[in-house]
Amino acid sequence: MLQVTALHKAYGPIKAVEGLSLHIAQGECYALLGPNGAGKTTTINVLSGLLKPDSGTLRIAGLDPLTQKRKTQSIIGVVPQEIALYEELSARQNLHFWAGLYGLSKEELKRKTNEALQRIGLLDRADHPMQSFSGGMKRRVNIAAAILHQPRILFMDEPTVGIDPQSRYHIYELIEELHAEGMTILYTTHYMEEAERLCDRIGIMDRGTLIAEGSLRELRAGVSGQSKISVECSAPIGQKAAGQLSLQFAHRIQVEAGSLVLQTDCIQQDISALMQLFAEHQLAIQHLEVSQSDLESVFLELTGRELRD
């Protein structure tokens, strides 16, 4: 559905996107994850025809956005980072206006607006002005405005910025519904949990470059020792037991703040081994905690920086 090859875009001396290549299949939800300034929004602006790339080739559903701009724009939907709605108009008037730009007939507009309002749970507030809506409600209308014309691919540029967790949850559900219906989605975010929860594949972008790409499992597997098992014992570990632990887990085990911390790639297997060893030495486990590696640690390992930097 979307094919980008060697995309370059610079603003004067600043290279916003450098050699980006990605492929998104029909019906796939793909996350572009990266900190602010990574080049995510520039990528969306280029793909949606707002900016001309310096070089690279683009194909969206077989169309070239550079030479077939209007045609391409008619099959894409964009949810911008800003809540780009007219505050003085009602939700219905906003949706009518935005969908009207895509050439929908009067009847279609009426029907689809009602469907969209129903879908985002705002049918009862349809005729209220936007300025009376909460941030989360506005975000939902913002998304509805981008999907009324039934685009073949939806670009969502950080669509949950600045809203409360409950509203965010509503939006996740909406995106999951769209994904389940087969819509192709390119989703940019700097929230790990969004990428993990919503997307089939994740591309990690930093300083204009795609530095890693794959499913969450593949990305985790690509970095070493990300998961940790922490064990707190009720009594001090004897020398014999300590020796056996060192022998069995070598450099993967260490003592941190009175707890044994084991770095692992295979959680279940290592927990079994630990339990058996503790039983042999009649050690009682007071507390056991498993922390799985996440995208944060993947990003940290890949860039040497935290994602929020």
């Binding site: 707002l50 911008p80 780009a84 709605l85 935005w98 730009l101 405005a145």
Partner: protein, 402 residues
């Protein structure tokens, strides 16, 4: 076209939803028209020594008439233009000059006969302040001259008739006496108003036309600012994601501004008719043409300002300065005729001038439809130029707008 219609419809909805904008667009102008009407009505007095223009036709071509022309030509504060009678009358009729002095045939003889002078001042009563100053200036210069000749002629006649002197003796005696004893009654020139029929009040037309154009400029500058608001709120960027040309966005906003501007002007003239009795129906086609061309040029200026300005603050400052300057020079705040000559020349470069003069032509000078074609043509031409520059600037600055 559907995109254009959508944007136009949306902008009209946004305007309708903004109660403050409606009040500023329609109620403020009405209030100001009333204020300016009363202000102009009560202020037709005094002057500040402006340079006045007078067209003159000498049909007598005698020594006395040529001497009078020479005297007038040396007057400070008066710019004299000598031309044929038809041109003089036309200049006043079409509002190019406030008054014309016609020296009729027999002027010299009338002085010798001591009868009323064959001088006629034709004037535009709509420019009563200017004409009043002019009449005073002319009187002060003409009276001593014609009075002296008439007095001498009267005295000579008396000497010859009552004392039996011959003409050369009487002339010689008068020459010795000088002009001291030759004071005659001040000769008045005949005055006549050039337009045959006046149905409207000059101050009302000045108030309506002047205020209407000035406030319309402010309104459309505010509407043009809508483009910057769209940029700030992110809706402009979202519009550019849609499959429509950026020019459709600009044209849509321009069309909304144009429609509101036309409504605003119509309401102002309607108010003047209902509240102050402006004879609105005098020349409806000409009025509609002037309203349309004025709205076009004002809306274009609003678009240009919005395309140039980088921020709302910049736009506010720029538009306030430009509009107030144009209004002051162009005749919105006071009639152009009271201004110094160099400002009157500068006025030609303002939207206000061409528009206000067009409305004068319709309602004061009672000129036919063809008379406003020049003004409307200039306004529409200017509109085209402004819109072209706006389009180029908008396209050029598109990246910056995102």
């Amino acid at each position: 076209m559907k995109g254009l219609r959508n944007i136009l419809h949306k902008d009209l909805l946004l305007f309708a939803a903004d109660k403050r904008a409606i009040a500023l667009t329609f109620l403020l102008p009405i209030a100001l028209i009333a204020i300016f009407y009363f202000a102009f009505g009560g202020s037709v007095s005094g002057g500040n020594n402006p340079v006045l223009s007078l067209v003159l036709t000498d049909l007598d071509q005698s020594t006395a008439s040529r001497e009078l022309v020479t005297r007038l030509d040396t007057l400070r504060g008066l710019r004299l233009e000598e031309t044929a009678e038809a041109n003089s009358r036309d200049a006043v009729a079409k509002g190019r000059r406030a008054a014309a002095l016609i020296i009729h045939p027999g002027f010299a003889d009338s002085l010798q006969m001591g009868s009323g002078t064959a001088l006629e001042l034709i004037y535009d009563s709509g420019r009563s302040m200017e004409v009043g100053i002019l009449a005073q200036l002319l009187s002060a210069s003409i009276s001593p001259y014609t009075g002296a000749i008439q007095g001498q002629a009267r005295a000579k006649r008396q000497m010859m008739q009552q004392f039996g002197m011959d003409e050369s003796t009487a002339s010689s005696l008068l020459a010795q006496m000088g002009t001291a004893s030759a004071e005659g009654p001040p000769p008045a020139f005949r005055t006549s108003e050039i337009s045959a029929e006046r149905n409207n009040d000059f101050s009302l037309i000045q108030a309506v036309a002047g205020t209407a154009v000035m406030l319309l400029l402010f309104s459309v500058a505010g509407m043009g600012a809508g483009l910057l608001s769209e940029r700030e709120s992110g809706t402009l960027k979202k519009l550019l994601y849609a499959p429509i040309s950026p020019m459709i966005i600009l044209t849509g906003k321009f069309s909304a501004s144009l429609l509101i501007a036309i409504a605003q002007l119509m309401l102002m003239f309607l108010f003047a008719a209902l509240a102050f009795g402006l004879d609105l129906g005098r020349n409806i086609p000409a009025l509609l043409l002037m309203i349309f061309s004025t709205a076009m040029v004002c809306a274009s200026l609003g678009m240009l300002l919005a395309s140039i300005a980088r921020s709302r603050k910049q736009l506010d400052g720029m538009s306030t300065m430009l509009i107030l300057t144009m209004s002051a020079i162009g005749g919105s705040m006071m009639p152009v005729v009271f201004m110094p000559a160099f400002l009157q020349k500068l006025a030609l470069g303002t939207v206000n001038y061409w528009s206000i003069q067009g409305f004068y032509d319709i309602y004061w000078r009672n000129l036919p439809f063809s008379a406003v074609l020049d003004n409307a043509g200039i306004l529409l031409g200017l509109s085209l130029v402004l819109m072209t520059i706006s389009a180029l600037m908008f396209r050029r600055n598109l990246d910056r707008l995102l």
